[in-house]
C-alpha cells in the first residue's frame, strides 16, 4: 500500500488517497456484528482520510477475530467501531479483550447510537473514546489521534 488511502480489502484496490503527512496513522474501521447501518462509518472513513490518516475499511459483518487479524496484518494504530444495534455493552468490551489477548496495545474508539449513560461503562471496560451522534469532524479526528497518543503513553 505505498500511497495509503482508504483501501477496499475485498478488492484490494486503493480508492482514495489522503494528503501526505509525516507519520501516517493507520486506523481499522469496522461494523462489528450484524448491524448494517454503515452511513456513519463511511462518513468517518472519509473524514479520517481527509485528515491524513490511512483507513483500512473492513465494512460490514466483522467479528472480533476478523478485526484482530486486520490490526495485526496492517500494523494498525487504532480500531474504530460503529454500533447502532444496542449491542455495544457486550461487543465493545469483547473487542477490547480480544485485542488484549492477541497482545495488541491498540485503542478502540466507538461511535454510533450509544446512550450517554453507557459511555462510562464502555470507558471502564477499556474503550478509549466514545463518539456520540452529532460529533463533528474535528472531534472525530481528535478523539482518534489522542487515543493513539495516549496508548503510546
Amino acid at each position: 500500500m505505498p500511497f495509503g488511502g482508504v483501501r477496499d480489502i475485498y478488492r484490494g484496490g486503493n480508492r482514495l488517497s489522503p494528503a501526505q503527512t509525516p507519520e501516517r496513522l493507520r486506523v481499522v474501521l469496522a461494523k462489528l456484528g450484524l448491524d448494517g447501518h454503515d452511513r456513519g462509518l463511511k462518513v468517518v472513513a472519509r473524514i479520517l482520510r481527509d485528515s491524513g490518516m490511512e483507513v483500512i475499511f473492513l465494512g460490514l459483518r466483522q467479528t472480533t477475530s476478523s478485526i484482530v487479524a486486520a490490526v495485526e496484518q496492517e500494523d494498525a494504530d487504532a480500531v474504530g467501531l460503529s454500533m447502532h444495534n444496542a449491542g455495544h455493552l457486550t461487543l465493545g468490551p469483547k473487542m477490547v479483550r480480544a485485542l488484549d489477548e492477541a497482545g495488541l496495545d491498540v485503542p478502540v474508539v466507538i461511535g454510533g447510537i450509544i446512550p450517554p449513560e453507557d459511555e462510562r461503562q464502555l470507558l471502564d471496560a477499556g474503550v478509549a473514546a466514545v463518539l456520540g451522534p452529532g460529533a463533528s469532524a474535528t472531534e472525530v479526528v481528535e478523539s482518534v489521534r489522542s487515543a493513539i497518543v495516549a496508548s503510546r503513553g
Binding site: 482508504v6 477496499d8 480489502i9 475485498y10 478488492r11 480508492r15 482514495l16 456484528g33 450484524l34 448491524d35 448494517g36 447501518h37 454503515d38 452511513r39 463511511k42 462518513v43 472513513a45 472519509r46 473524514i47 482520510r49 483507513v55 475499511f57 473492513l58 465494512g59 460490514l60 459483518r61 447502532h84 444495534n85 444496542a86 449491542g87 455495544h88 455493552l89 457486550t90 461487543l91 469483547k94 447510537i113 450509544i114 446512550p115 450517554p116 449513560e117 456520540g132 451522534p133 452529532g134 463533528s136 469532524a137 474535528t138
Partner: protein, 548 residues
C-alpha cells in the same frame, strides 16, 4: 396547459361524481372559524384522476384518514405483544413489527453471530412459538399488520399465516404488508442473506403466493426510507425506490404473473425529511411517475395498478441526540409534509430515538403528534392543499426530471431493462457510491456550518440529555435462549428434518413456489436459522464489497 374548457369541466364532473360516490367522515368541512371548505381547489387533473399527482382518492382524507401505524418491537415476543396492545388501546390503527438484528439476518438467538444483539433493536423471533406469543390475544382477522423484514421475509410470512390459521383465521382474511423489498437491502440497509437473483426468486414466489391465496396482503413494500436514511438525496430516494418498483414489476411479469393481477398490491414506503417543499414535491412526483410508467411503459390496464400508495415515516436520521425534546417539533413538521403529500399511513418517530428505541411515553407523544396534524391543522379537509402553487408544481417537475435521468441511466446499464439495470447497479457499486457521496456532502456542509442543524452546530445551549431511555432487560438474551432450547426439545425432530428436506428440494426447482414448503417447515417449529441455512445451501450467500 393547452387544455380547453370542455375537458376541464368534463374532468371536474367526473371527479365530482366519484367524490359524491365515496364515503365521508362525519366531521364539519370548514375551517376552525366556520368557513366552509371545498374538497379540493384548483385545476384538473383532480385527485383520483390520472396521473394522481394530487392524490389517489377523489376525496382523500375526507373518506378516511391515513392509518396511524406505529412501528414497535423489542425484547421478547411477550414484551412486544404488550406494546402492541398499548398501541391498539391508544387509537393506533395498525401494528408494525420491528425484528432484532439476528432475526433480520436469518440467525437464531443461539448463533454465535447473535451475541449481544438478541431482542435489542427489535423483537427476537426464532420459531413459530415466538410468533404465537407476539400476536397472542390479538384478532388477526381484524387488524392490519406490517412486518418489517426482508432477507427472511418468506419465513416471517409463513409464520404469520401459521399463527392465524391455528387461531382459526384463514389466510385469505389476513390484511397487512411485509416489507420484502430485497433490492434496497443491497443498496442501502444491508440486511441481505442470499445473492440478488435467488433473493428475487423468493420475492416473486411470495408475490405469486399472495396473489393467489392472500388477496388482502401487500407482498412488497418498496422502500425509499432506508435509502434516504443511508444518506441519499430526496431525488435519489424517489428514483431508486421507483426503479426498484419497476424491477419487481419486470421480475413478476417474467415469472408469469399478469401485471394487473399484482400491481395494485404493491405499496411504497417513503421518508419524510425536514425540507418541507422538497418532500412535498417528492411525494407528488412519486405518484405521477408511477402512474405514467405503469400505464405507458408496462401497459397496465387496471387503474389501481397505476396508483402509487405509500406509507411514510418521519426521518429517524434527522433526530438529534442534543436537546432531544426539540425533535418533537421536527417530527410534527415532517408529519405535516407527509399528510399534505397524501400518504396512506404514517409512523411518527419518537423524540428519544437518537439514543435508543423509544420509551412508551415518547412513543405516545409521537402518536399524539400525528393526531394533532390529522385533527387540528386542517390538512385533512382539502386534498392536495398545496397543489397549484407555482413553487410546488415546479418542485414536483424537478423531482420527476431528476428521477427520469436515473431511470435513463439504469435502462442504459440494463440494456433496456430496469431490472437488469438495478442488478448491474448493485454489482458495480452505483447505488452505494451515489448514496455515500451524498451523505458525505451533507456531513461536510454541516461541519462547515453551511447547513444549520439546530442544537448540533448552532443554538447549542440548553442541552439536557439526561432523559430516561428505554433499557432492554439484559436477561432478554438468556430468556430467549432458554425458550428456544425448550421449543427444540419439544418438537418432533424427524418432522423438522423432513420438512427442511422438502424445502431444499423446492429451492432446487425454480418452478416450484417456495411458500408452501416454508409454511410446512415453520409449522414443525423449524427455526429461522435452520430454514435460512437450508436455503443458503442452494442459493449461496451474499457479501458486499467494502466500498467507502
Amino acid at each position: 396547459m393547452g387544455e380547453d374548457a370542455t375537458d376541464r369541466s368534463a374532468s371536474e364532473d367526473r371527479w365530482r361524481a366519484a367524490y359524491n360516490a365515496g364515503t365521508r367522515r362525519d366531521v364539519p368541512y370548514e375551517t376552525m372559524s366556520g368557513v366552509p371548505l371545498e374538497p379540493v381547489y384548483g385545476d384538473a387533473p383532480f385527485p383520483g384522476q390520472f396521473p394522481y399527482t394530487r392524490g389517489i382518492h377523489p376525496g382523500m382524507y375526507r373518506g378516511r384518514l391515513w392509518t396511524m401505524r406505529m412501528f414497535a418491537g423489542f425484547g421478547t415476543a411477550e414484551d412486544t405483544n404488550a406494546r402492541f396492545k398499548e398501541i391498539l388501546r391508544n387509537g393506533g390503527g395498525g401494528l408494525s413489527t420491528a425484528f432484532d438484528m439476528p432475526t433480520l439476518m436469518g440467525h437464531d438467538s443461539d448463533s454465535e453471530w447473535s451475541e449481544g444483539e438478541v431482542g435489542r433493536a427489535g423483537v427476537a423471533i426464532d420459531t413459530l412459538a415466538d410468533m404465537e406469543d407476539l400476536f397472542a390475544g390479538i384478532d388477526l382477522g381484524n387488524v392490519s399488520t406490517s412486518m418489517t423484514i426482508n432477507g427472511p421475509a418468506n419465513i416471517a410470512l409463513a409464520q404469520y399465516v401459521a399463527v392465524a390459521e391455528k387461531g382459526g383465521v384463514d389466510r385469505d382474511r389476513l390484511s397487512g404488508t411485509i416489507q420484502n423489498d430485497i433490492l434496497k437491502e443491497y443498496q442501502a440497509q444491508k440486511e441481505y442473506i442470499y445473492p440478488p437473483r435467488p433473493s428475487m426468486r423468493i420475492v416473486t414466489d411470495m408475490m405469486r403466493f399472495t396473489t393467489a391465496e392472500m388477496p388482502r396482503w401487500h407482498p412488497v413494500s418498496i422502500s425509499g426510507y432506508h435509502i434516504r436514511e443511508a444518506g441519499s438525496t430526496a431525488a435519489q430516494e424517489l428514483a431508486f425506490t421507483l426503479a426498484n418498483g419497476f424491477a419487481y414489476v419486470e421480475a413478476a411479469v417474467a415469472a408469469g404473473l399478469n401485471i394487473d393481477e399484482f400491481a395494485r398490491r404493491l405499496s411504497f414506503f417513503f421518508n419524510s425529511h425536514s425540507d418541507f417543499f422538497e418532500e412535498l414535491g417528492k411525494f407528488r412526483a412519486a405518484r405521477r411517475i408511477w402512474a405514467r410508467w405503469m400505464r405507458d411503459h408496462y401497459q397496465a390496464r387496471d387503474e389501481r395498478s397505476w396508483q402509487c400508495r405509500f406509507h411514510t415515516q418521519t426521518a429517524g436520521v434527522s433526530l438529534t441526540a442534543q436537546q432531544p425534546e426539540i425533535n418533537i417539533a421536527r417530527v410534527a413538521l415532517q408529519a405535516f409534509a407527509a399528510a399534505a403529500g397524501g400518504t396512506q399511513s404514517l409512523h411518527t418517530d419518537s423524540y428519544d430515538e437518537a439514543h435508543a428505541l423509544p420509551t412508551e411515553d415518547a412513543a405516545r407523544i409521537a402518536l399524539r403528534t400525528q393526531q394533532i396534524v390529522a385533527h387540528e391543522t386542517g390538512v385533512a379537509m382539502v386534498a392536495d392543499p398545496f397543489g397549484g402553487a407555482p413553487f410546488i408544481e415546479w418542485m414536483t417537475d424537478e423531482m420527476e426530471r431528476q428521477a427520469e435521468a436515473v431511470f435513463a441511466h439504469l435502462l442504459d446499464l440494463g440494456g433496456g431493462s430496469i431490472l437488469e439495470g438495478v442488478y448491474e447497479g448493485i454489482e458495480n457499486g452505483y447505488f452505494v457510491g451515489e448514496i455515500a457521496d451524498a451523505a458525505y456532502r451533507f456531513e461536510r456542509e454541516v461541519n462547515a456550518q453551511r447547513r444549520i442543524i439546530v442544537g448540533v452546530n448552532a443554538f447549542t445551549e440548553g442541552d439536557n440529555p439526561e432523559k430516561s431511555l428505554l433499557r432492554i432487560d439484559p436477561t432478554v438474551e438468556e430468556i430467549q435462549l432458554k425458550r428456544l432450547g425448550e421449543v427444540k426439545q419439544r418438537r418432533n425432530s424427524d418432522a423438522v428434518a423432513a420438512s427442511l428436506a422438502a424445502l431444499g428440494m423446492a429451492a432446487e426447482s425454480p418452478d416450484t413456489n417456495l411458500m408452501p414448503a416454508t409454511i410446512d417447515a415453520v409449522k414443525t417449529y423449524a427455526t429461522e436459522g435452520e430454514i435460512t441455512r437450508c436455503l443458503s445451501e442452494v442459493f449461496g450467500t451474499y457479501t458486499e464489497a467494502a466500498i467507502v
